[in-house]
């Protein structure tokens, strides 16, 4: 394994872990509703930039840990993260060629899939909340995507 690979792996784990922690940091109510799914965005970024490092297993584990952290039915976020990671892996060759806005749009689609999985499993387990504002993180996540890419690129370039 190349040494650069190892630091990348470390960065990957650390960024997703940070995203998980930020998922439960207390925020004022209006910000809480639009809180972007930073852990998932981090996973997406790493799948697009270094698919050999970011596999499905860690994404799944991260989702499972998020379930435990937030006290949801075990497996909900795990399934959501897994589906998105899988789709991103399949689309990765195409998506990394997209211009940034186009890429943000496809990330929005993936986030939509993720929130749909959560919404659906919520409904199946009888916790359904059907308000429109549960879909807001999809939008904020997509808006945040260019920033995530910029931040990630600047960090990985330095570590190279």
């Amino acid at each position: 394994m190349k040494p650069g690979n190892f630091t990348r792996r470390l960065l990957y784990w650390a960024s997703v872990a940070a995203g998980l922690v930020l998922a439960i940091v207390p925020l004022p109510a209006w910000l809480d509703v639009v809180r972007p799914d930073l852990a998932l965005l981090a996973i997406l970024y790493w799948i697009l930039t270094s698919p050999r490092i970011a596999g499905l297993g860690y994404a799944w584990l991260a989702g499972l840990f998020l379930d435990v952290l937030r006290g949801m039915t075990l497996g909900q976020h795990a399934l959501g993260f897994l589906v998105v990671a899988f789709l991103a892996h399949r689309l990765q060759l195409r998506m990394r060629m997209f211009p940034i806005l186009h890429q943000a749009a496809s990330v929005m689609l993936l986030l939509g899939v993720y929130h749909f999985v959560i919404f659906w499993t919520d409904g199946l387990t009888g916790h359904g909340y059907t308000g429109w504002n549960r879909w807001l993180p999809v939008l904020t996540g997509a808006l945040l995507w260019p920033l995530i890419v910029a931040a990630g690129d600047s960090v990985t370039r330095r570590s190279r």
Binding site: L20, V21, I24, V25, P26, L27, A29, D32, V33, R35, P51, R52, G55, L56, G57, W60, G63, L64, F65, V68, L69, R70, G71, M72, T73, L74, G75, Q76, A78, L79, L82, V83, F86, H89, R90, Q92, L93, T121, L124, T125, G126, H127, Y129, G131, R134
Partner: protein, 325 residues
């Protein structure tokens, strides 16, 4: 026809194919969800998974706690003095009420002893702080810093200084998850302190509103009525304030009136809550005297109302009728 593989990992040592991993893990998560939601098999698994989650929650909580501590310890003198004065005044008032209350409680206990029933009075409380952690913006859940190590159990009632707060839904070794009475999945049996009408208060997902969907149009409920816990169901101790009725709308054509109430507990502002142990013996329908007695003209009416449905009560009381449905 040759197709390019989407899998760009190195051919040697790339591990199982993506699709296989995906299918395996997806099946695993679905199995987990079914096991967790439909059966209680995973309580143990969750228990030790949460051992990993607890340090994270504490780490998130610590800076906020430190900030609170800092602002508390460097509060300026005049504010502290002001607060002190207010608290002294409140304490004097409370003591005054307590004097009357002590006599009433004694009398109440004697009467209950005579009938061999001292159920529903809180026996032991444990103060615990709320961790500064956001779980889900659409569910009213909180995490408190006491767990099974401290004897906390599932279904335990949680109160704050002003009234009923919620109940414990999950217990970990050092923390517990509490569902608030305002969560849309929560329901609590209540009784009007004035008229004795019993009904159920359901959470709405709004921390300043409960809804009373099963009040018939003819029921004697008015805005301003204090709703107290009945103790039916054995989850909550009897006679603690739950909410105050804010709105009653009666349409003669409908069976049920539209009734809203505002929780008395500070659901969105509290930092510390009380976990309560009490003796949940047979709930009995009667006027509770544990809340501040209000000698009003409605007394006679209350007796009449509370005397009516004594038999049906135990049947309507499965051990967890207040729990999330």
């Amino acid at each position: 026809m040759v197709e390019l593989s989407h899998d760009t990992r190195p051919i040697i040592g790339r591990g199982p194919p993506l699709v296989a991993t995906f299918v395996t893990l997806a099946a695993a998560s679905i199995a987990l969800m079914v096991a967790d939601d439909r059966y209680a098999h995973l309580d143990r698994v969750r228990h030790w998974l949460s051992a990993g989650a607890y340090p994270v929650q504490v780490a998130v909580d610590t800076p906020f706690r430190a900030w609170n501590w800092l602002t508390d310890s460097f509060a300026d003198r005049s504010r502290l003095r002001q607060e002190n004065l207010e608290l002294t005044a409140r304490l004097r008032l409370a003591n005054l009420q307590l004097q009357r209350f002590a006599a009433l409680e004694d009398e109440n206990r004697r009467l209950r002893d005579m009938r061999e029933n001292s159920a529903g009075i809180a026996e032991r409380v444990l103060v615990s702080s709320i961790l500064n952690v956001d779980l889900d913006p659409f569910r009213h859940r909180i995490v408190v810093d006491k767990g099974s190590e401290d004897g906390v159990f599932k279904g335990q009632a949680v109160l704050d200084g002003e009234g009923i707060f919620g109940q414990v839904t999950r217990v970990h070794s050092h923390s517990a998850e509490v569902i608030l009475i305002s969560d849309a999945e929560h329901a609590i049996p209540v009784q009007s302190n004035r008229s004795g009408v019993r009904t159920i208060a359901v959470g709405t997902g709004d921390s300043s509103k409960l809804s009373l969907p099963f009040v018939t149009v003819e029921s004697d409920i008015q805005p301003g009525d204090l709703l107290i816990s009945t103790g039916i169901g054995g989850v909550f101790p009897r006679g603690y304030p739950v909410a105050e009725v804010t709105r009653v709308e009666r349409t003669p054509a409908a069976t049920f009136a539209l009734v809203d109430a505002r929780p008395t507990a500070n659901l969105d502002r509290e930092r510390e809550v009380l976990l309560v142990w009490f003796d949940p013996a047979d709930p009995e329908v009667e006027e509770s005297a544990t809340t501040a007695a209000e000698p009003t003209a409605a007394d006679g009416q209350a007796e009449a109302a509370s005397g009516t449905p004594p038999v049906a009560a135990p049947a309507a009381a499965p051990p967890e009728s207040g729990a999330g449905e």
